[in-house]
Homo-oligomer: 266 residues x 2
């Protein structure tokens, strides 16, 4: 099977069209796809770890805003009418906390005891940033957002612990306040930045070497602005080593049937 | 032991002072107490039911915003430095979903496998309503807020299901928009009203006969405004009949060490 080309205008895709393209084999970061529709991070864990994870999410709401939870073995969700095993562009398979494979189709790895969690994604507020005149560099370049493991620990829950992961967008200094104001209105998809400025204060040694995604240029007069990131659950998996887990490949999200506006307050 | 009198100005109490008064035996609804400090609903369930409840809360965030969760057997919480067994004014004890006792001290009923959940309470935004010029009738009369079981079902989770419970405040018609605007800014303590107007549309037959709390007068030109209520978990307990549970007596809340402003967005 030959992977399909991306549509000429991915932003104009419906969620069903985007999922069909990914199901057919298209592997691409989803930033900018299906404008107006909420994208979500995926973490699927054995039922035995579901309480620990839901409690971890309750204790770390900035990186882990839970949008939906499946019943064990279910392969769709109330906000995701597609097939969670096939309809994301790419997946990471973990055994004992080690990523052992990155695949376009997770069907052969899916297990009947898996509970899937859909976690809010900062892509949700990127259209609102653009509307407010705040540029979004990785959308301009067509790449993946840069993400970094920080030295800030999440609050542990049961057997799960791990570092906060953040995404970074360079923002012109005069627009930082607007970026804060706009994203504050989306508390259930990471909300306001967790940090503005000095990467070293988060334990990030080199902005040009993200742990996930692609580096972006930081221009003269721009400040690096950091938002909590839904890859944090996968960092907890790597640290805490549950026997099995499936996550999305960072930046390669679940395109849901929920509208971005559903997460806007007030 | 003689129960102490209420302080002359309960609103001026610190959380520690309020908890000490309740621990000493004062039984009173807590509306208007410890101004600026967040009050919370309590539901404590056996560890075996903790995942079902946390998922129930995730699926019903308006009535069940989870502010804190204890480890099994713990008797304080990160936002509650007191003793959860003694420091609320009154508790309801449930066996197989039936309220079997209402007590001022739950110590003899507490069990080492209980996980306690603190759930946001609409008392949090009452000071903000007053500041916006919206009267709050049960604060004027010094009574308990009226609460009603509705005919709206919550989304079930595992073994837990039940009806949405709402609190009601009469609001002058010209101030309904202000009440919506103010409370929308507190999404993690029930947020905006779930319903404005017609009680019959929620299956409420008689506003003068609340299921919990005290009736309040609805005056000419006022509209009944309904907010999701943190007694909903206890209604789920009554419907779903877990073997054991402890809740607060409706309106007799946990006075926490979290500030109301912590739950204000943006």
């Amino acid at each position: 099977m030959t992977a399909p080309d991306a549509p000429a205008d991915p932003a104009a895709s419906t969620p069903a069209q985007a999922r069909a393209a990914f199901r057919a084999g298209l592997r691409t970061p989803t930033a900018g796809w299906a404008a107006g529709w909420t994208q979500a991070n995926l973490i699927a864990l054995p039922r035995d770890f579901a309480y620990d994870f839901l409690l971890f999410a309750q204790r770390n709401p900035a990186p882990c805003p839970v949008l939906d939870v499946t019943e064990p073995g279910e392969t769709s969700a109330s906000i995701f009418a597609g097939d969670l095993r096939t309809d994301l562009p790419a997946y990471r398979i973990y055994r004992d906390g080690v990523p052992v494979a990155e695949v376009a189709d997770a069907t052969e790895h899916w297990r009947p005891d898996l509970v899937a969690f859909l976690i809010g994604c900062s892509f949700t507020f990127e259209a609102a940033l653009l509307e407010a005149g705040v540029p979004v560099r990785h959308l301009e370049t067509g790449g993946n957002v840069p993400m970094y493991r920080t030295d800030q620990a999440c609050r542990p829950a049961g057997r799960l612990s791990g570092p906060l992961v953040v995404s970074m967008r360079p923002v012109p200094a005069g627009l930082v306040a607007a970026a804060v104001r706009v994203t504050s209105r989306y508390p259930s998809v990471h909300g306001a930045p967790v940090h503005v400025g000095d990467p070293a204060a988060l334990g990030i040694a080199d902005l040009a070497a993200p742990d996930f995604g692609d580096p972006v240029e930081l221009r003269e007069g721009e400040v690096p602005v950091f938002w909590a990131c839904g890859v944090t659950p996968q960092a907890a998996v790597m640290r805490s080593r549950p026997p099995f887990a499936i996550g999305h490949a960072p930046g390669h999200m679940a395109v849901t049937d929920a509208r971005d506006s559903a997460y806007l307050v007030p």
